[in-house]
Assembly symmetry: C2
Homo-oligomer: 333 residues x 2
DNA sequence: AAAATTTCACGAAACGTTTCACAATATCAG
DNA sequence: CTGATATTGTGAAACGTTTCGTGAAATTTT
């Protein structure tokens, strides 16, 4: 049924069905209406191919069913999976997702927050960078991986446990001397706890450990310098490496191979994130997997629940280890 | 300036400034207003921390400044980059992006199209799968990589030229016998032209060529069977491979290495897409790069331009070759 | 059978904008 | 100084919903 240009409104449906406006509204919203009326209204809706205007609804209800998602970009694997899962979690609740890529720029982040407010979104989920972000007190806000204050719930993986798990795994897989590699970030965000967790795990398992943390401007080449300084007669001082992200692990593995070291025979490598290299292929490396889907689900739950007194300031979700070819699994595994 | 619960409206601003509603509206929209009035209104806006309600605007103007983007998922590298660039192109024009991941499911695609219509979006950009998609005639629709009909503009890379370019590159790099590898898809979409282009290029350059196209249910293992059947005494019949996507190329390269063949020494490999392995690192392989940013920009332009008579049914954008370590660049390059 | 009660459709008002006919003021010619 | 013209602020109406007080009809009670 092709309809002339102006989209049919409730008023048109009411006229077509010979009922009042309010009756149509009730039918549309599933409120109790006499069967005779319901049938007439439904027929009219069908005939006119009527669709409710959700923006008029939003105006009336002061609710837009829109959530803004602030994220540095959509193409880093962890982010792109997060977006996917957030999209699913929101759509399940009939919410729309307004995606804002910030490119790590603090002023862009602030701009988007203001813009989100102007768009009267029902809430904001932010994986943000700027520690001095000014968030509006009266718009629900949930962060990922960044604790901004006791009134702003933060959802993250259990990064500390993830670090511990990496150490334990390496120990279980026979490592004696390990290193932690991280790209520099002066930020105090949740993923930083990976280091502390790893250190803790190494101590518990009596592993020798070394850290190499890149400073803010330093290039990845520093890692090669570091590794070469620990290379003697073609043998590395370490038999295990824990990289702060899979992306870094991927680089390091290529670097090791260029240096003539075999992974996992000479040195085992564990990364962090657990996202797939090409979207749905194997893991790029053995890794600590973040529960992306659960993170997304919880963010949305916390954001949309109205009882703000029940919102915990920080939730850490359990991580797990996954084999990805860069460790030597033993038979007990 | 902390404000009590109900957000201030234009009416509040008008009262505060002692002017009429229409005057505030003009100031907000940058229409000519006497300086004395403008100053009073701007002061009131500042004082009350007023933000226009863009949903009320949308209702009045019958324009929601929202565009729905239908895409299989957000984590496949090509898609995630597309989303990023679409986001940028839309945001530049103050449009919002409603992201819908369809998981390649035809019914989900149709559902989302209906939902988008309900949400009164100003347009839809779709990278869709279902060839029988029912699109609403009176809502602007632009597709990516899939030609649905003369009234629905389609934006794509010049896949044919890309295929040609791959063949020419392989020829220039010294190949004599090449193969084209593709995963099966019975769909008639734009990327299918890569094969025809490659074939064309091979003929022009007198290259021996072979095709291996996976049928719909077949696993990637078929490629190994195919390659092994062309392996004699550790030497492959081909010295060049063109893979339909970088993702496939990535698999094939790993497969070749497992088979004891060196890339690019024994066999050179070119993929297609040109997206980065971990978001912003090097190319995963030598590749034909799709102009993702231009595709996104053009989609948005076509979608939002009102003169529908000027919309071309199909636009193919130029691709380029990029070195990614899996070809032997010669000195002339 | 009449009164009391319940049920439920009706339609006006309101949400926060934009727009437009109108009125008020300022400008200028004669 | 008057009357015509240009300028610009005013406020009501409209956009498409939801909500809620009103009252008519149906049902139950005595």
């Amino acid at each position: 049924m092709k309809k002339a240009n102006p989209a049919p409104t409730m008023k048109d449906v009411a006229k077509e069905a010979g009922v009042a406006l309010g009756t149509v509204s009730k039918v549309v919203n599933g409120l109790p209406v006499g069967d005779a009326y319901r049938i007439r209204v439904e027929a009219a809706i069908e005939k006119l191919d009527y669709q409710v205007n959700s923006y008029a609804q939003g105006l009336k209800a002061n609710k837009t069913y829109t959530v803004a998602v602030l994220i540095p970009n959509s193409y880093t694997p962890f982010f792109s999976h997060l977006i996917y899962q957030l999209n699913m979690a929101l759509l399940k609740r009939r919410y729309r997702m307004l995606l804002c890529c910030t490119d790590y720029a603090p002023n862009t982040e602030q701009e988007y927050i203001n813009m989100a407010r102007q768009n009267k979104v029902d809430g904001i989920i932010g994986l943000t960078y700027d520690p001095n972000l000014v968030v509006d007190e009266d718009i629900p806000f949930v962060t990922i991986d960044r604790y901004l204050g006791p009134n702003i719930p933060c959802v993250a993986s259990d990064n500390f446990a993830g670090g511990q798990l990496a150490a334990e795994k390496l120990a279980d897989l026979g490592c004696r001397s390990v290193a932690f590699l991280r790209v520099g970030s002066s930020l105090t965000n949740e993923p930083n706890k990976r280091r502390a967790g790893f250190e803790n795990g190494c101590l518990a398992r009596h592993l020798n450990y070394t850290m190499k943390i890149l400073e803010d401007g330093e290039s990845f080449d520093e890692f090669e310098i570091f590794l070469r300084s620990h290379l003697h007669d073609g043998r590395l001082d370490f038999d295990g490496l824990f990289c702060v992200t899979d992306r870094l692990a991927y680089f390091i593995i290529e670097m090791l191979e260029r240096m003539g070291l075999r992974v996992p025979e000479d040195v085992q490598v564990i990364g962090f994130d657990g996202v797939r290299n090409f979207g749905d292929c194997d893991y790029a490396c053995s890794t600590i997997v973040q529960p992306v889907s659960e993170i997304a689900e919880l963010c949305v739950q916390l954001l949309l629940q109205d009882d703000s007194s029940m919102k915990p300031p920080l939730v850490c979700l359990p991580v797990r280890y996954a084999y990805g070819g860069t460790t030597r699994e033993n038979s007990r595994q």
